[in-house]
Symmetry: C2
Subunit: 599 residues, 2 copies
């Protein structure tokens, strides 16, 4: 070899090494320990991975429904599956074309075949089967589920198994059998303290699907505002919404429901009653109790909880509930029941007379009786609306009935939503005592006490949610069976569309894994590299999930580049220096060398 | 009047009342107390407002530069003014055309005339005059300033005086004389713990301008990453950046500088030394001290602070600083100096030999001497680069010199940046003792201790920043004069582009008013309605500033509607029910009535 040729080869090698040094720089190496590429969140019940790599070609890879199965033959299945295949077609691959490497010569995985073995319902429900299995080996890739809801969970898992390596989309040989630990894996959003524009609710639903959450608990109205547009009572939002633009029309609600349904997510509305109803009183003061300042700290509205003494209140609620139940598809309906101010009832003569008439004593006990009476009537109304409807209530309802020693007024099909952290009755023992009592009385329950995402603190806080288990209380196996799941709650006093998504995610992901994965998947340190992968995966897919300590994502959140003011100016000198300068220097030397060689 | 006609009139009235009831609904009324429309943030030094309303017609209103003044005749002024007039042309009006009411018959304000009485410099500086005055009365509106920087502040104020009322853009008769209390009103951003894509830095600069902040302190590199692309030492980012995409090219930096300059904002780079330099060591390990595990808790990198014993370190820094100083325009340069780990120096034999050679004792005192030696050399280098450059340092540098009892090594033109909350030497007395010491020694100072926005807590936390005053320490008038301002700091361990802006704003607005407005503007309760207005104004202008308690903005942050997935579906039934149903019902009844009338 001529010496100058050897020099050229050496130079090329040096260039290759310099290029390589970027790919394995210090932090990228450190990151490889920190992030677990191609791992699944939440962790499946059973997963086996081999070291065999299969490569996917974005130009030719196919997601296919098995036409001999319900995935195609059952129209309800087909609709959900068709939408899902189209969605995941856009989620499986993310390496931009200019950064992609060819996969010729590699072992190619050319399709995933999806089979649904049973059949489908139009809407997901508490009873939906979400189990699925995945097999990726040299025969190809298959996904089998009993229902469309299971198929959705499986597609999400399959999409998460794919990782990027040297510009290629790769999946390892894998075998998965998966099903959720709890059937109710929810997130409560609050659109009363701040209005959330529709796109943010939809974005959040996408994030829920990426974390296999399946219940959107929509705390849609509260004291501050009534954004739900009722056709029966237009004044509720007409006068109770922040402005005429801060409303959810029936059409908006339908969009949310459909978007959720196609992702296997139930939408449970909450119309909190008899407390937290101030905004209702703007359009319909007649259904609220007037509070008199004599015995009650006056406030500017002078309207308190629903008026339980008037029959018209129940007529009103029945009509409203009928409308809501027709619009929302779910069998369950959250009627609240938290934080009722007995002082206002106590200040009102009409309420006192009603209590006398009902034989309730003039004491705290009597007001608990009154609340029990009211809720019993509300739950009866739920049972009487045309379609079967069951109630979910905040824990106070149970507590009040329990104080009276008579739970017969509280139908056993009611789900008790535990949210308080400490109950003073139990000398500061957190919510666990409450879970034990509720289940001992035979009620099903949802836990939220330790999943209040609105409370924030400096630093990495998701492990506290991750490590709180809904079964961590003293009780029999039968009691544990009554725990149907949990809900992360993000009350919106300090949250609106500017910060809703990053405050929610990936903190809610911690709750998602707690509620889906086996109980022994509980080590937050071990989960961290998967959490890191999940966070960046969400960012890549358009969910601005916030960071969890110094690091980076390969694809950062960059939505502001869509605003004209903030689009980077592309100049002719805009070449990146590392690449630009390097290549220029390299070319200079190369030309010099070639000239020398030829000389 | 025929009875049926009377009925028609009554019906129309009822309709009018129903429409009116939307505009003055409960919460809108409550909000009128909560928000102070058309108020200015930060509060001007002197402002008088009359009750006379002038109306602005967006189609014809003009922002004009007085052609007989420096605003047009001085080319440096003209460039800044032209850009500003074009920007504010887009910021003055926000009511969408379909919601606008005509202003015929109202007293019209048809233009604002801007006069610059002195002249301009290309870049703003610590000495820039930012004063301005505004007069709005029946003769028209004028804005007078000595410089373009004052003109920018005045334009911002003028834009904030305009408020919306019944679909009209309105301004009251106003007279303002304004100038800042402190000349250095900064915000520190950290692009090392997380990389911030350029659009977010630009968006933040806009927000700074809306709050009259004038210094972007760019903590551009740190232990975790070196995103600054140096042409002199390309390996610094080539190996020290997270990836080759997580870098700021010279072109990116120029864009930031130009965007900032046009808004009257200085950009001060920080290259922290001798500590916080781990990422530098990826490309240039030779400039760092090797830490030996014998006396030092080993970590995986084994590289500590800059190596002060090698002359090559200083040569390296000189070359780098020359490049940086050429790129960044500001006279000041932040060289850090915080949190230096003496243990690493203590573990290194080369450093020990150097200390012996210099006559530094082998003690904490000796290491303070060594740091003093290093910083003295660094500050000398700053003085020697081609253009005048002065240093800003974190307080440890002062503290170390102060311990030695000899401050001669610390040039008096150095600005001391006070950041620690408690100094144990002062028995837990917060930063105030430090401010007193620094100024007693004759140094100028910037306060950040009580403006650390990275620390978060539940609820409304801006009053704590608002109520912390840089002059609140024991000292003479001369000492107080040495306080040139303060900086809000948002360290980025838990912040990236997903949550940077909402975490920064409007919390940094509290610091902005503290540093601009007179000292006695210090009541956060009184400031709240203006803060509320400022928050929503920012949101309206494209800055996702987070909320401060249950409320709403007339125009909510809705950027996700720009993503195709989340664009609301427009359906034919998409009429809002309040309007739709109401109008349909109204029309039905009207038609019925007319038919009856005619019958």
């Amino acid at each position: 070899m001529k010496p100058c040729l050897a020099f050229l080869v050496a130079l090329s090698l040096q260039a290759a090494v310099a290029e390589w040094s970027y790919q394995t720089s210090w932090y990228e190496k450190a990151r490889q320990d920190k992030v677990a590429r191609g791992t699944v969140w939440p962790q499946p019940r059973s997963i086996d991975t081999t070291s065999v790599r299969y490569y996917l070609d974005p130009r030719s890879f196919k997601l296919e429904a098995d036409s001999s199965s319900a995935a195609v033959s059952d129209p309800e299945c087909k609709e959900v599956v068709d939408h899902a295949l189209s969605r995941y077609g856009g989620l499986l691959f993310w390496i931009p074309e200019e950064d992609r490497a060819g996969v010729d010569g590699d072992e190619i995985l050319d399709k995933l075949v999806l089979t649904i073995t049973r059949g489908c319902t139009r809407y997901p429900s508490l009873e939906s089967d979400e189990s699925y299995s995945i097999l990726v080996n040299s025969d190809g890739a298959t996904l089998r589920a009993q229902t469309a809801w299971g198929a959705l969970r499986g597609l999400e898992t399959f999409s998460q198994l794919i990782y990027g390596e040297n510009g290629k989309h790769v999946i390892n040989g894998t075998s998965i059998s998966d099903s959720p630990r709890f059937p109710h894996r929810g997130i409560m959003i609050d659109t009363a303290r701040h209005y959330l524009p529709l796109p943010f609710i939809l974005n959040h639903l996408d994030a829920m699907a990426y974390n296999k959450m399946n219940v959107l608990h929509w705390h849609i109205v509260d004291d501050q505002a009534f954004p739900f547009q009722s056709a029966t009572f237009p004044d509720l939002s007409g006068k109770g919404a922040y402005t005429r633009k801060h409303v959810y029309t029936p059409d908006d609600v339908s969009q949310v429901l459909e978007f959720a349904r196609l992702r296997g997510i139930r939408v449970i509305p909450e119309f909190d009653t008899p407390g937290h109803m101030m905004s209702w009183g703007q359009g319909h003061p007649e259904i609220l109790t007037r509070c008199y300042p004599t015995s009650f700290q006056p406030d500017i509205y002078h309207l308190g909880p629903a008026n339980p003494a008037r029959e018209t209140t129940y007529t009103f609620m029945r009509k409203l509930f009928e409308e809501i139940r027709q619009l929302f598809a779910d069998e369950y309906f959250h009627v609240g029941g938290d934080e009722v101010r007995f002082q206002c009832w106590n200040s009102n003569e009409e309420v006192h007379q009603f209590m006398v008439q009902q034989g309730f004593p003039n004491s705290t006990q009597g007001f608990a009786d009154l609340q029990g009476y009211y809720i019993r009537r509300i739950l009866e109304i739920l049972h009487q609306v045309p379609e079967t409807t069951r109630g979910i209530v905040w824990q106070e309802i149970f507590d009040n009935f329990e104080i009276t020693g008579d739970l017969t007024g509280l139908n056993l099909d009611t789900i008790i939503h535990v949210w308080e952290w400490n109950d003073t009755r139990y000398q500061g023992e957190p919510f666990r005592e409450e879970m034990a009592k509720v289940t001992a009385a035979g009620y099903r329950t949802i836990l939220s006490s330790c999943y209040y995402l609105n409370y924030i603190s400096y630093g990495r806080d998701w492990p506290q949610y991750y490590e709180c288990d809904p079964h961590d209380f003293q009780g029999t196996e039968a009691q544990k069976q009554l725990v149907i799941g949990g809900e992360a709650c993000l009350w919106a006093e300090w949250v609106d569309s500017t910060n809703f998504i990053p405050r929610m995610w990936p903190r809610a992901s911690a709750v998602a894994e707690r509620l889906w994965s086996p109980q022994d998947v509980a080590d937050s340190e071990a989960a961290s590299p998967r959490m890191e992968e999940q966070r960046c995966r969400m960012v890549r897919r358009g969910i601005p999930a916030q960071p969890q300590g110094p690091s980076y994502c390969e694809y950062e959140w960059n939505i502001l580049s869509q605003l004209p003011n903030y689009r980077p100016v592309i100049t002719s000198s805009g070449l990146r220096v590392t690449e630009g300068l390097f290549h220029i220097m390299f070319l200079d030397v190369l030309v010099l060398a070639v000239v020398k060689c030829l000389a």
